[in-house]
Symmetry: C3
Subunit: 217 residues, 3 copies
Amino acid sequence: MTTESPVVLALDLLGTFAFALNGALTALRVARLDIVGVVTLGMITALGGGIIRDVLLDVPPATFNDWRYLAVAAGGGLIAFVSGRHLERLNTPITVLDAAGLSLFAVTGAGKALQLGLGPVQAVLLGALTGVGGGTLRDVMVRQVPSVLSSGLYAIPALIGATATVVLTLLDVHGPATAVGAAVLCFGIRMVGVHYDLDAPMPPRAFDPRSDDDGPR
Amino acid sequence: MTTESPVVLALDLLGTFAFALNGALTALRVARLDIVGVVTLGMITALGGGIIRDVLLDVPPATFNDWRYLAVAAGGGLIAFVSGRHLERLNTPITVLDAAGLSLFAVTGAGKALQLGLGPVQAVLLGALTGVGGGTLRDVMVRQVPSVLSSGLYAIPALIGATATVVLTLLDVHGPATAVGAAVLCFGIRMVGVHYDLDAPMPPRAFDPRSDDDGPR
Amino acid sequence: MTTESPVVLALDLLGTFAFALNGALTALRVARLDIVGVVTLGMITALGGGIIRDVLLDVPPATFNDWRYLAVAAGGGLIAFVSGRHLERLNTPITVLDAAGLSLFAVTGAGKALQLGLGPVQAVLLGALTGVGGGTLRDVMVRQVPSVLSSGLYAIPALIGATATVVLTLLDVHGPATAVGAAVLCFGIRMVGVHYDLDAPMPPRAFDPRSDDDGPR
């Protein structure tokens, strides 16, 4: 699946690298970590979504079993460890690469679920989960409410990209162009969200949560 | 398993709905969440226990693969999102429904484990885990020590209901009446615990934990 | 795998017991827990690493399916619950036992991964994960940044022990002596780290994380 074509493989490895780099930098910003922590959280961000997807599909985790993904993810984490402070200035390209990773993972995740015979609703959820699962695991491990649950447009573009993949595949319009189109759609919505600082809808007449960012519960 | 009979299916879906509603409301009370967060945490509360059980059984997660459970769980989360503040007044019926869900999940979880050939101890643990696993995942994601580990009678009625299921099944007294009896036992203990505000035993000469409820996050 | 020989079984059960005891005591120190919480967190510390390994290997979790491991893990948790305050004085022997558990789990975890046909890199990672996974799960559940990610030498000896196991096995030098040698190596490095209070390398020009150590951890 992840090795279908050299182009998809290259893009997938690039997305993995971006996720690891961005994930490790995000973790470094909120917790005191040593080298084990930085590299581990980079790898978890990069590979966690695909691993959760494959566990839910009850198949062996594909990226974990492919040393190239492990090496690229570890490399991203190591670079963040060594030169974290300098990379802070590269915030914009890293955000763009991260959005590319999100788009690719959502599309390839939904595609893999369909190939394994899951229903369309499950394929959409698994596609989105492939994109957002790794960052969610990382946030939980550094004691943050996962940002995907609280702010920004991150899960929504992933859900839309996965839905486009599933709909087009069910209409029998599959092939590389379909995947690219769905990924571009996800990427575009994500970047619009970043640029205009959009959030997903909040509850009406907001609750007054007792233990969010500043207080004990 | 989950589709054995229309009555069990209806009860199971009702329990799923109650878990999603209660889970999403609980999450809203302690963290600032957007619509993605509220619906996701409702679904995780409702489906997480069964998914953990099926992962430990090494079988594909049944409720995740059944769109009716996904729809009911998402519906519960959405209702909590839209009308959370009003539902706060319905605290008692929601607690009762949640206890019903706990009872059903503990009994059906233990039953599924036995059917798949697990030993009695494992079946009891998996039954209880089906009941309490989803809420535990939710609590971790909103940065709470899982309430099931710290206060109230929640795991204990689930363990008792699962034990009753296993003992009666091993005595060859199975069938719908057994399941109903075990579920009623669990439900009764849970409601007695709620009514009298009972807690499970605490450690003797309590420790003085450094970072529990009164420290900064 | 875990029942290969009576000696390995006895050592493995002893390691499980040490992990459960140490894990439950650690959890008690940082969170207000009832009996369910203490025993659950002891069991999660003891069995969690092996369960994560087996989920990633896509095989049924071996220790969960063996009532002896469940009983020993629950026993360790119960002893911590009943006599936690007195055990605080036994800090040194418990640390030594915990290091022994870490060493055994890293070596047997890497060995199991190799036996199931995983590659050498995966086997090293799964060995280390078997050793550190349970404590990581526990820390997340009591709202701590996992100590393995932030300080001390814990993952590194596990990685070295697992690497030694994999290298020696690939060189066809396997057998009990190999396993013992690799475990002793891991144990030695861990105890040197404890004795001299060594930490893994921290990021250069440390970040100033916003939400880490100013709270009690």
